[in-house]
C-alpha cells in the first residue's frame, strides 16, 4: 500500500465538478483507492461519487489518499496532484 496526505485548497471543496473530476481520475487506475479525512476512521472508495460526497470534504480539510494494487503509486500521486492543482477554480 502507498499513501499520501494533502490539503484541499479549492473554494468549493470536493463537491460538484471537482468531485466528479476526482472520481473520474481515480477510475482510470486498477488499484483499490480510498480517501479519508486525516484523523478520521471513515474512509470512502475514491472511485465512488456517492461515497465521496458523503465525506463532505471542504476547503482546508487535510485528507489522506491510500491505494493498493499494481499502479498504487501512480494513482495516489496523480490524485494528490489533482487536489493540489485546485481543480482550476
Amino acid at each position: 500500500m502507498y499513501q499520501r496526505e494533502t490539503t484541499i485548497r479549492n473554494e468549493s471543496g470536493l463537491h460538484a465538478r471537482p468531485a466528479s473530476e476526482f472520481v473520474q481520475c481515480a477510475g482510470q487506475f486498477q488499484s483499490e483507492i480510498y480517501i479519508s479525512q486525516v484523523g478520521s476512521q471513515t474512509q470512502a472508495n475514491a472511485k465512488s461519487i456517492i461515497m465521496l460526497l458523503t465525506l463532505a470534504l471542504s476547503k482546508g480539510t487535510a485528507v489522506r489518499i491510500a491505494a493498493s494494487g499494481p499502479d498504487e503509486r501512480e494513482a495516489v500521486d496523480q490524485l494528490v496532484a489533482l487536489i493540489d492543482s485546485g481543480f482550476s477554480e
Partner: protein
C-alpha cells in the same frame, strides 16, 4: 367548468392544450423471470451504456440553451458509473438474492435514503438525482426508449411530478405552464419554473386521470387554480387575463431600474437579502441601495469543518466589492433554530428557536465568533460594511458583543492588519424584549434592522415552521405593526438608521404600512424589488401614514388585510 386548487409556485396565467406527461412506473420483479444471473449482468452493462448514451445526448442538447442545466446530466453520468452501487447491484444479482431490476431499485433507494437522512438540502438534491437515474435504468430494463416529453406545439405540461432531468431538458418555448400533482414552493419544478418565468401550479393532488390529452385547460397560478371543461367564452376570458398579466408583469419589471420615490417625493431605500451570493443577485447591485441582510450561515452548513478566516474574508470581500460604496449589512452567524450545522456539532434542543442560537452560540464559541469578526473586518476595506448582531435580547448582549469586537479590533491593530474604521455596528430586532427597549438600544448601537419573521414568531408565540399553528403566525396582526412603529420611532428620533429585512418587506401591501410607520429602508429578495418599487412609486407618503395610523387602530390581522386590500389594491382588482 371544473376547478382544481393548487399552490401557485410561479405566477402567471395560461390557456392551451394540455399535454399529459406520464412516464410509466416500471413494476419490478417480472422482467427478468427465468433469466440467468450471467445473462442479467450482461444486460446490466448494455442498459448502463444505453443510459449513458441518453444522458450524453441530453447534455449536448442543453449545452447551448441552458448550460447550468447541462451539469445535471453530467452528474447523472457519474452516478451511473458509481462503483459502489454497481458492485452492490452485481453482488445481489450474482448471488441470486434479487433480479436485476429489483437490485437496481433496492440499491438506488438505499443510497437515496442515506442522502435524505443527512437533512441537508444539498444532499436531498443528490437523493432526487439518484432516484432520477434509478428510473432511467428501470425504464431501460423494461425495454422502453426515452420518448422525451413528446411536446409538439405550445402546451400546458401536466405531470405527477417532474424529475430534475425532465426540467433540465424542458423546451421552455413550448411550455405555456406547468401543473403537477405533488410539490410545493420549494420543489425543483417550482425553482425552474420561476427562473424560466413559466407559470406553475403545483401540489394539485390527483387530477391526471380526469383529463385527456390535448383538451383545453387554463392555469391561473395567481389564484392557484387549474380549470378544465370550460366553454369557449370562458377560455377567451382567461386568454385576456393572461395577456393582461403579461403586460402588468412587463410594467412591473420596468420598475427594477428606477429608485423608489413616492409621488410626493419621499425616497425609500430598497435593498437586497442575500445568502450564498449568486451572480444574478450581485448583478442587481446597480438597481438597489445595498444589501440589507447578508446571511452568512451558508458558509457553515453542510460541511464537517468550520470555514477558516481566509475563506470567510474572501467571500465577504466579493460581496462588499460588488456593492461598492453602498452599505452591506452583514449578519453574524445565525445558526440554531431551524438551521443546524454539522461543523459546530450542536446538541439537539427541545425548543431550538428559544435555545442556544445565533449570538448566544457565538458567545459560547468565542473561536467561531472571533474568526468571523476578524474576517468581516479584514474584508471591510473592500466596501461599506455594516455589522449586524442577530438574536439580541438584552443590553447585556449588545455590550458583550461590543467587547468582542473591540478585542478583535485591538488584535488587528496590534498586527498592523488593515480594516475600515467606519464599520457600523447594529442589531437585528427580532426578540420583543429588545424591541421594547429600543430607546436604550438606539443609544448603544449605530443602526437596527427589524427581522419581521422572527419578531412575529416570538411576539405571537407561533412557530413559523409548524403548519399546525400557521393561522396563529399573523404577520399582519396590528400588534406587530405597533411594535415595529415603536422601534422605528426610537431609532429615528436619535438619527440612527432603521430598516426591515423580513418577508413583510417584500409584500406590497405591508410595504405601504411600513413606509407609513417611518421606515425608509426595506430589504427583500431580488424578485420582490420591482413590485415593491412600483408600489412605493404609486403612493403618497401622507396616504401611507394614514394607512399606518388606521392599521394600528384595527384589532385583528384579518381586519388589517381587508382594509389594505380595499384601500391599495392595484387596478381595483
Amino acid at each position: 367548468m371544473k376547478r382544481y386548487r393548487g399552490i401557485g409556485a410561479s405566477q402567471g396565467i395560461a390557456v392551451g392544450p394540455v399535454h399529459l406527461y406520464c412516464p410509466g412506473k416500471v413494476e419490478t420483479g417480472r422482467i427478468f423471470v427465468g433469466q440467468t444471473a450471467k445473462g442479467q449482468l450482461a444486460r446490466y452493462e448494455e442498459i448502463k451504456a444505453a443510459a449513458r448514451e441518453e444522458l450524453t445526448r441530453l447534455q449536448a442538447q442543453c449545452a447551448q440553451s441552458a448550460p447550468e442545466q447541462a451539469n445535471i446530466f453530467a452528474a447523472h453520468c457519474d452516478l451511473l458509473a458509481d462503483v459502489v452501487m454497481g458492485q452492490e447491484i452485481t453482488q445481489l444479482v450474482h448471488s441470486g438474492q434479487a433480479m436485476l431490476d429489483q437490485a437496481i431499485e433496492q440499491i438506488y433507494n438505499k443510497y437515496a435514503a442515506m442522502m435524505d437522512s443527512v437533512g441537508d438540502p444539498m444532499f436531498q438534491e443528490r437523493a432526487r438525482d439518484i432516484e432520477d437515474v434509478r428510473d432511467r435504468l428501470l425504464r431501460l430494463c423494461a425495454g422502453q426508449t426515452d420518448g422525451g416529453m413528446g411536446l409538439e406545439g405550445p402546451c400546458i405540461l401536466a405531470a405527477r411530478d417532474l424529475l430534475p432531468s425532465d426540467t433540465a431538458a424542458l423546451d421552455r418555448d413550448k411550455i405555456l405552464a406547468i401543473v403537477t400533482e405533488v410539490g410545493g414552493q420549494t420543489s425543483h419544478s417550482a425553482i425552474i419554473a420561476r427562473s424560466y418565468g413559466i407559470p406553475a401550479l403545483l401540489g394539485v393532488g390527483p387530477f391526471l386521470s380526469e383529463l385527456h390529452e390535448g383538451q383545453t385547460v387554463a392555469v391561473d397560478a395567481c389564484e392557484g387554480e387549474l380549470l378544465a371543461d370550460g366553454q369557449e367564452e370562458q377560455w377567451a376570458q382567461y386568454r385576456q387575463r393572461a395577456q393582461a398579466f403579461a403586460l402588468r408583469a412587463e410594467q412591473t419589471a420596468a420598475y427594477l431600474e428606477r429608485p423608489a420615490i413616492t409621488q410626493d417625493g419621499v425616497r425609500v431605500s430598497v435593498t437586497l437579502n442575500i445568502a450564498d451570493p449568486r451572480d444574478e443577485e450581485l448583478a442587481l447591485a446597480p438597481y438597489v441601495d445595498g444589501v440589507g441582510l447578508f446571511r452568512t450561515e451558508f458558509l457553515f452548513l453542510g460541511r464537517a469543518e468550520l470555514p477558516d478566516e481566509e475563506e470567510q474574508t474572501g467571500v465577504y470581500r466579493k460581496v462588499l466589492s460588488a456593492f461598492g460604496d453602498k452599505p452591506v449589512i452583514l449578519r453574524t452567524l445565525d445558526i440554531g433554530g431551524d438551521k443546524q450545522a454539522d461543523c459546530l456539532k450542536l446538541p439537539k434542543e427541545d425548543n431550538p428557536f428559544l435555545g442556544k442560537r445565533a449570538l448566544r452560540l457565538c458567545f459560547d464559541r468565542p473561536d467561531v465568533f472571533r474568526t468571523q469578526l476578524r474576517a468581516a473586518l479584514r474584508a471591510s476595506t473592500a466596501g461599506n460594511l455594516w455589522l449586524m448582531l442577530p438574536m439580541v435580547g438584552s443590553m447585556d448582549d449588545i455590550r458583550r458583543a461590543k467587547t468582542f469586537l473591540r478585542q478583535v479590533q485591538e488584535e488587528l491593530d496590534g498586527e498592523g492588519t488593515p480594516y475600515s474604521h467606519d464599520v457600523k455596528l447594529g442589531i437585528m430586532v427580532e426578540i420583543p424584549s429588545i424591541a421594547l427597549l429600543a430607546e436604550q438600544a438606539a443609544e448603544e448601537v449605530d443602526f437596527a434592522s427589524i427581522g419581521s419573521n422572527d419578531l412575529c414568531q416570538y411576539l405571537m408565540a407561533a412557530d413559523r415552521l409548524n403548519g399546525e399553528v400557521s393561522a396563529y403566525y399573523q404577520s399582519m396582526n396590528p400588534a406587530l405593526f405597533r411594535l415595529i412603529g415603536m422601534v422605528v420611532d426610537a431609532f429615528s428620533r436619535r438619527g440612527k438608521p432603521v430598516s426591515l429585512c423580513g418577508e413583510l418587506g417584500g409584500d406590497p401591501q405591508a410595504a405601504v404600512v411600513l413606509a407609513g410607520l417611518g421606515l425608509r429602508k426595506l430589504s427583500m429578495g431580488g424578485d420582490a424589488v420591482p413590485r415593491i418599487k412600483e408600489r412605493l412609486c404609486g403612493i403618497r407618503m401622507d396616504q401611507a401614514q394614514a394607512a399606518a395610523r388606521q392599521v394600528c387602530r384595527l384589532d385583528t390581522a384579518s381586519a388589517v388585510e381587508a382594509y389594505l386590500r380595499h384601500t391599495f389594491s392595484p387596478n381595483g382588482q
